[in-house]
Symmetry: C2
Subunit: 139 residues, 2 copies
């Protein structure tokens, strides 16, 4: 399995404590992370600014992708497939649970294509489904 080190090197990034730790967190988390989660889970070991910059770098490199939400926050999740710089393949559906508030990448559910009106040229599509997730449904 690919380690944080591999990921950083593959993307030509300097290997630093901060980047390793944040990547570790992503690798250890099933769902998506908000900026706030990352600050909490690294025990304030890093400056807030570093977290912002690290996330931005990862997004630019295609290591993580952003998930839009309706509550003025952005969620981040690892790209499971190989995403080249500036060319993401994160075209899977995201599920936000109304119960436990977790966001899950449904890697096997691809965003369906839609027919747009004339002269609209689509480049990227995102889809967010909310409801009750597997875990909450069973319990």
């Amino acid at each position: 399995m690919e380690t944080q080190l591999d990921i950083l090197k593959r993307n030509g990034l300097s290997v630093t404590e901060g980047r390793k730790k944040i990547l570790d967190l992503f690798l250890a988390t099933e769902g998506a992370l908000a900026h706030a989660d990352i600050e909490k889970n690294t025990d304030a070991a890093f400056d807030r600014v570093t977290v912002y910059r690290t996330l931005q770098t990862f997004v630019d490199k295609g290591i993580i992708h952003q998930i839009p939400t309706t509550d003025n926050s952005v969620l981040y999740a690892l790209c499971k497939h190989n995403c080249a710089q500036g060319h993401h393949h994160d075209n899977h559906v995201h599920f936000i649970c109304d119960e436990c508030d977790k966001t899950i990448c449904l890697d096997d559910v691809t965003v369906p294509a839609v027919k747009l009106p004339k002269d609209f040229e689509p480049l990227h599509a995102a889809m967010i489904v909310s409801g009750i997730c597997k875990e909450c449904k069973v319990n």
Copy 2:
């Protein structure tokens, strides 16, 4: 055509200057509006707080709906169809233009249903397509 007055009355809301003006702005705008746009376009005639509260009220009543984005902001747009309180019908696709940055409600394009993994129960789905819009494509 339905005026701002009709909309307010239909929803049992007090008719105030602020609500009328903000509704006017929505009725006059084709695309979606960010909170910042609303503050700007009302000439700072209202307190920031009033704008926040008015938008919240409109969302609660189903007069406008929220559109998720990936840049830490939420966009708002009028519900074209009759949305009952707590029961929105805004299941159309939203298009964000990378060129002019406008967000357009594609009222005629409905969000397609997707097949979710076992035990996931969907309640709501949103879809955002980005690319080049009609206007920018032609010019």
